[in-house]
Amino acid sequence: MTAHTDISAEVLKRLYETMLRIRLFEDRVAVLYPEQLVKCPVHLCIGQEAIAAGVCAHLAKSDYIFSTHRSHGHCIAKGMDLRPMAAELYGKTTGCAHGRGGSMHLVDTENGIPGTTAIVGGCIPLAVGAALTARKMKNGRVSVAFFGDGASDEGVFQESLNYASLMKLPVVFVCENNFYATNSPQKARQPEVNIVERASGFGIPGELADGNDVLAVYRTAQKAVERAREGGGPTLLEYRTYRWKGHVGPLADIEIGCRPADEHEAWLKKCPVDLYGRYLQENDVMSDQDIEAMLARVEKDIDEAIAFGKAGQEPAGTDLYDYVY
């Protein structure tokens, strides 16, 4: 773990709580999924929590994030209430998109989440556009695009970096490199060049860090967000991590040969939540009791969110034509 030294205990604890909220929410979705009441595909981010937590820790409520098919963690870290999120998974009118979007299309405009897209790469230029708004309105907001290693091969990624650099826009590009796009390993899709190195081709800084070390994420993201906010322009951050579950759904995909079992095993040992929890205890930031209390609080929120989600009504068929325009 990167040392915390100058980071306040309050921030350190908040980071942990965010990671726990993501982990426990995703775990719960995985456990409940076989009930078949969540009737939409879910792309879980278990194993990748540190990135969402470490980046969003620097964002104000009014800052923007843009995300992908795998967005639960980003939205939680940005402060989204778990209840409308759960209700959206359950397809209820009480869901954040009134049941129209499902897991892949979370939204929370109050918390700077103007929507999420399941078209790979689609969110990247949208984040640049939000940064353009911030620049035009001079409101000091920063925009963050979360996307995967796979998305970095889309044309829009290069086009977005170019324009953001040209206009010195307040945007941070956060690539979560989990080494797979569905079941395709990174090396089947990209030459062995770090994604982060593409930044230099567009004249912007890039930084590569361990995505399972929340403090490493926190520090690199801090620089990038500050730079954006101060008018210094965009940064590309590449974080290496691993998703524990299969591309979609609650099962790991190891059984059907999608990824090597030993690789999966090795990454389970690098659990970002455990690593950081232990670090906080060893450095006397949190006691066992503190952690217990935090866990209980988070579990309670999740219980309430699931109950809220289940209790809602599904939209009536007669409301099919709502919200098109």
Partner: protein, 347 residues
């Protein structure tokens, strides 16, 4: 279900086959028929290669490419970066210089990424080169419905492509057609979009073992009838057949025409059937507005107007993006029950 076992009725139309179609009929699923087409194309022509995101993974594009990389190697069954527009251009570039690529997409919803290369390049190349340079490119893309796939993963975009001269758009509904039409497309010289509904992959049908070719633009009558013609595309053929079975119990006789290809469209067959029944329902997997069903209706209006005894009805997706939740999905996707009410409405 019996209505899943359908063999193309080509007796009404002349169809040329690559080999004797009578020999070696076996029952295959739609999925296996496509895999056999892929496999035979790779065997018979070294210019053929398959490319697409994750086509070599254990799922193998709903099973249609499973095992092919092991058999033909990574040079001919190629994984791809997630870079649809660029990779479409790469495939077109290969096609105009001697290869016969098959570019495979898990969802048709990713084809909007490729619009520039498909519409401005693939569709135009033969014409812009005075017919000197052909684009023997096949693009396979999957459509479907259900399980909250929602707005960006449930579209049925055939009409977008069917609007473009220079392209071909095929929508095989049976295993027999899937194999023959895909082989026809690979062997042919026109850029072709093959649209496959994912609810078809388990459907069974008789399929000859040898390679054979079905040319686009020839529809098939799946069921003869007197009272109403239903012209259907892809999965809607099955909904139409089911509606026809139920209506038969009441003495209503439905003719089901499987369009098979949207561009070119078998206008003669539509006209012939409408002249016989005097009533037309167009059932398409896509949207109504400026869609395939509009074209079907226009054919009847222009060429069989005098025969029409009732207004044409169209069964399509409501003009709304696909919802995620199940209650709205139920209201969204038309079924045989909707076809039955439409039939009742014009009888």
């Amino acid at each position: 279900m019996p209505w899943t076992k359908i063999q193309a009725d080509d007796s009404r139309k002349q169809v040329s086959f690559g080999g004797p179609a009578s020999a070696g009929l076996r029952e295959l699923s739609y999925r296996d028929a496509i895999r056999e087409a892929m496999s035979q194309a790779l065997e018979t022509d070294p210019a053929v290669f398959l490319i697409g995101e994750g086509i070599d993974d254990p799922g193998g594009v709903f099973g249609t490419t499973v095992g092919l990389k092991d058999r033909f190697g990574a040079e001919r069954v190629m994984d791809s970066p997630i870079a649809e527009n660029g990779m479409t251009g790469v495939a077109i570039g290969a096609a105009i210089t001697g290869m016969r690529p098959v570019f495979i997409h898990m969802r048709v919803d990713f084809l909007p990424m490729c619009m520039d290369q498909i519409i401005n390049h693939a569709a135009k190349w033969s014409y812009m080169t005075g017919g000197k340079v052909k684009v023997p490119l096949t693009i396979r893309a999957v459509i479907g419905r259900g399980w909250g796939s929602a707005a960006q993963h449930s579209q049925s975009l055939q009409a977008l492509f069917a609007h473009i001269p220079g392209l071909r758009v095929i929508m095989p509904a049976t295993p027999y057609d899937a194999k023959g039409m895909i082989l026809g497309s690979i062997a042919g010289n026109a850029p072709t979009i093959c649209i496959e509904h994912r609810w078809l992959y388990d459907m069974k049908g008789n399929v000859p073992e040898e390679p054979y070719v079905i040319h686009p633009g020839i529809g098939a009558v799946r069921r003869e009838g007197r009272d109403v013609t239903i012209v259907a595309t892809s999965y809607m053929v099955y909904e139409a057949l089911r509606a026809a079975e139920e209506l038969e119990k009441e003495g209503i006789s439905i003719e089901v025409v499987d369009l098979r290809s949207v561009l070119p469209m078998d206008e003669d067959l539509i006209v012939e059937s409408v002249r016989k029944t005097g009533r037309l329902i167009a059932a398409d997997t896509g949207w109504k507005h400026c869609g395939v069903s509009a074209e079907i209706a226009a054919v009847a209006a222009e060429k069989a107007h005098a025969a029409l005894k009732a207004p044409v009805r169209r069964l399509c997706l409501p003009f709304v993006p696909a919802p995620a939740c199940q209650s709205l999905e139920k209201a969204y996707f038309p079924t045989h029950a909707d076809i039955i009410s439409a039939v009742r409405g014009i009888l």
